[in-house]
């Protein structure tokens, strides 16, 4: 893919060159160049994990880059913290708003800079007046004396934007701003953004909603796997071309062959109309014995919540889960485990492993009676079981009593696998099974998954890596904004097809 540059223009307000950043186990950005011109809306797109968030945090001073430079208005700059960038006029509106819910709108807008009277005390009148001014200029009608916690999320977002505007703003970065607002509020936001553009502000707009990009952006940059793929004027691309740029990568031969049609196998798990707050809306699907079902979708589309709700880690508001014929209107981890359903969580350190315990203890955790002899735990039985699993999954560790905190990510994941595979023999819900795992271990895990399916397990795989879904799933569901947007079977599963369904309309 050739890298296309917009004409090199000296009216670039912000310019970053050669930015690289890596975290333990993953190279987040690889020598990325990016620039934003004043009076222009520049969109930034890419899959989950493409590096958009990291790039934003480097530009705004929350992270420090490993290599590369940031140039602002022609001068090289270096941020020692977000405060520096803010003072220089770079403001980010993150998806998680940085607000103080108990304080009023006016106080939030002026949180670190309250206007004072001549006597040195806070001038609430002036503060309210000025906050009101800013908000009106931005086109919002918000009661500045209200507590922020009483506002709608859209209004809260407006408050944060207003806060950015009490100073001078050179660069405004918006990270998924329309994730939480709809309809008329989106229109309003766009009006304001266009006004800001006219005023010469450089706006960087990160979003998954491609039609918005076509609506207001002038330029678009595509990131993929930490690399800048292209920067083009919006007029020169269309939706399909964007998607293929976001997704296209050479296929490598790392997946075991897929099974074909599983539609005659018995249904082991069925979810009917599951609702989880605002995160999952009336999701229904079936899972058959021996099949590997993928669950794809963007971050925040509700996949993890659905899996957790089925397992019982999260309560669901309505709906049913049927396991091998038995119907449950409420699930709990204990009943799920008893019914042979296991959940390998997305966050293995936070929700999966007991980090300070041994491999053996972690493996035995869901069903302690396996290692009991009489009323007491038998170390012999415990270690015996663990030793078997270590051999079976080729876990690289000195012994069964090794504390899991000392293992590599791949081996930790294998410990979790062995825990669930031996305890729950019907259904395995795997949430991001290869996250933070090196390539070698990934291949092993794919092999394991396929083998388990062959042995009769019903497996649900949640993954943000489209390649994975395409590679190992017999069938895939795609979630979008809490609902199941579509299903792809067999050879119909492709990265483009998934993306097309995953992106909001």
């Amino acid at each position: 893919m050739t890298v296309v540059d917009a004409a090199d223009d000296h009216s670039n307000i912000l310019s970053v060159t050669g930015i690289s950043k890596s975290f333990p186990g993953v190279q987040s950005l690889k020598r990325v160049d990016f620039s934003a011109k004043g009076g222009e809306i520049h969109a930034l797109v890419g899959e989950n994990g493409a590096g958009k968030s990291t790039l934003t945090k480097i530009i705004s001073g929350a992270y420090v880059q490993d290599e590369g430079e940031i140039t602002l208005n022609g001068e090289k700059v270096f941020w020692s913290g977000p405060g520096d960038a803010q003072r220089a006029g770079i403001h980010v509106i993150y998806q998680e708003l940085v607000l103080f819910p108990e304080l009023t709108v006016a106080e939030n807008v002026f949180i670190n800079d309250q206007p004072l009277t001549r006597l040195g005390i806070i001038d609430y009148h002036a503060m309210a007046r000025r906050a009101d001014d800013v908000l009106r200029r931005l086109g919002a009608q918000i009661d500045v004396r209200q507590r922020v916690k009483n506002l709608s999320v859209a209004d809260q977002q407006m408050v944060e934007i207003a806060r950015a505007f009490i100073g001078s703003v050179k660069v405004l970065i918006l990270d998924e701003p329309t994730a939480v607002i709809f309809g008329v509020e989106v229109d309003l936001l766009f009006e304001r953004l266009l006004a800001l553009r006219a005023a010469g502000v450089a706006i960087i707009y990160i979003s998954h909603r491609l039609e918005e990009i076509f609506r207001i952006a002038d330029q678009v940059t595509v990131l993929k796997d930490g690399v800048r793929i292209a920067t083009l004027p919006v007029t020169e691309v269309d939706r399909d071309k964007l998607i293929s740029m976001m997704v296209g990568r050479p296929l490598t031969d790392i997946f075991p062959p897929r099974r074909r049609d599983q539609s005659d196998a018995p249904i082991i798990l069925r979810a009917v109309g599951v609702n989880v707050g605002s995160r999952v809306k009336s999701a229904s699907f079936t899972l058959r014995r021996g099949e590997v079902l993928g669950l794809a979708g963007l971050v925040g589309s509700g996949r993890t919540e659905l899996a957790q709700a089925i397992f019982g880690g999260l309560p669901f508001d309505s709906g049913e889960v049927e396991i091998d014929g038995k119907v449950f209107t409420k699930t709990s981890p204990r009943t799920s485990i008893a019914e042979g359903v296991g959940l390998l969580t997305e966050d293995r350190k936070g929700e999966g492993l007991l980090m300070q315990l041994s491999i053996a203890a972690n493996i035995a955790a869901p069903r302690l009676r396996d290692i009991l002899r009489g009323p007491f735990i038998s170390p012999r039985i415990e270690n015996g079981i663990a030793a078997k699993e270590i051999a079976k999954f080729s876990i690289a560790a000195p012994g069964p009593q090794t504390v899991v905190a000392g293992l590599s990510g791949g081996n930790q994941q294998k410990v979790l696998f062995s825990r669930w595979v031996r305890t729950c023999r019907r259904v395995l819900l795997l949430d991001e099974p290869t996250r933070g795992v090196d390539v070698g271990a990934k291949v092993e895990i794919y092999r394991i998954i396929r083998q388990l399916a062959d042995e009769g397990y019903a497996i649900l795989v949640i993954s943000s890596e489209l390649l994975e879904i395409v590679g190992i799933c017999d069938r895939t569901l795609v979630m979008c904004e809490g609902a199941i947007a579509g299903e792809l079977i067999g050879s119909a599963i492709s990265e483009e097809a998934i993306m097309a369904m995953a992106l909001p309309k």
Binding site: F23, S53, T54, K57, A62, Y63, Y94, Q95, E96, V299, F311, G313, S332, P333, R334, S336, I337, L343, T345, G350, E351, G352, L353, L354, M355, Q356, L357, A361, A365, P366, R367, L368, R369, L372, P375, F376, I377, A405, R419
Partner: protein, 324 residues
């Protein structure tokens, strides 16, 4: 959503902090004992040693309970009050026969059960912080006790309890033997039963424990109940040692037991530590006070020592904890 990652320099290398946490206390204990044997007048006398052990035993019993609660990420400030209440119970019955020990035990245990249940309920069902919950319970219990004794507890302790609390067999204090028995019981429970394993799981990662089917609330609740029961037993042992009861029996034990447990390597963030470590902590703490006295420091100096020890323990252990 990704979070801002700010690199935190490790203050102490991983290996060193692990060694410190595992063996530091034992090393310190040995050093202290050796140093005291050399420098502190009278430390070496068998009488003094026996004294220290007898002194440490009641604390040890309470520490066993505190250990459980701290392991599940809480702590119990009501132990001192429970001890005192048990002491009051011990002196409230007809002391002329030894059989009065039975009602004493029964009443104390029931009292402990109730107190522990209230603590457990507040912490698990009402989501009150352990600090506030156990502190409030402590005060309420104190009030009940004051009302019952009209502010002036009195009475004699039955002979059996006196004997257990202060006598020795072949210069081994009986209350120490009792402590060892209880310690073995609690220790085995922690290390070798499903219940104990679940305690470590709940303390180490309550969410992960929940997701493997553990009833986190129930386990936590039981720990508070056990803590109260052990505190009551500790109170009986203490009153046996002291021989009489007053308003301030057990004063300071809530703080002392927490310090001893933390010093013993039981992490305040839960899921880590052992009964053995906590007991060594109890012994070391008592030893420190003993040495201070032998060196001529006034009794009040204990307070200063306590405060400094907490700060040091916090600085060392919680730091080591963080660098994980």
């Amino acid at each position: 959503m990704s979070t801002t990652v700010l690199a935190k320099p490790k203050l102490v290398s991983h290996r060193v902090s692990r060694v410190v946490e595992r063996n530091g206390l034992l090393l310190f204990c040995l050093l202290l004992t050796a140093g005291a044997a050399i420098f502190a007048p009278g430390f070496r006398s068998p009488n003094n040693l026996q004294n220290v052990l007898t002194n440490a035993a009641p604390l040890g019993v309470v520490v066993l309970g505190q250990c459980l609660v701290i392991l599940v990420r809480g702590f119990d400030l009501s132990v001192a009050s429970v001890m005192a209440t048990a002491a009051v119970v011990a002196t409230s019955f007809d002391y002329s026969t030894d059989w009065s020990v039975i009602p004493i035990l029964a009443v104390s245990l029931v009292m402990a059960l109730v107190v522990g249940s209230v603590n457990g309920y507040l912490v698990t069902q009402r989501r009150v912080s352990p600090f506030l919950a156990t502190l409030a319970v402590m005060i309420v219990l104190q009030g009940i006790r004051f009302a019952w004794t009209k502010g002036a507890p009195s009475g004699r302790v039955p002979e059996l309890i006196r004997m257990i609390g202060s006598q020795a067999i072949h210069s081994v204090p009986i209350n120490l033997i009792l402590l060892v028995i209880l310690a073995v019981f609690v220790g085995v429970m922690l290390e070798r039963t499903a219940f104990g394993r679940k305690i470590y799981m709940v303390g180490g990662n309550p969410r992960a424990a929940e997701l493997v089917g553990v009833n986190v609330n129930w386990i936590t609740f039981l720990c508070y109940v056990l803590s109260a029961i052990l505190a009551a037993l500790g109170g009986l042992v203490l009153v046996g040692y002291v021989g009489s009861v007053d308003n301030w029996v057990g004063r300071g034990y809530e703080l002392n037991s927490i310090i001893a447990t933390v010093m013993g390597g039981v992490s305040l963030s839960g899921g880590r530590g052992s009964v053995f470590g906590a007991l060594v902590g109890a012994f070391v703490l008592t030893e420190i006070f003993n040495i201070a006295l032998l060196l001529g420091f006034p009794v009040q100096f204990q307070w200063v020592v306590k405060g400094v020890v907490i700060l040091l323990a916090v600085a060392v252990y919680l730091r080591a904890d963080r660098s994980r």
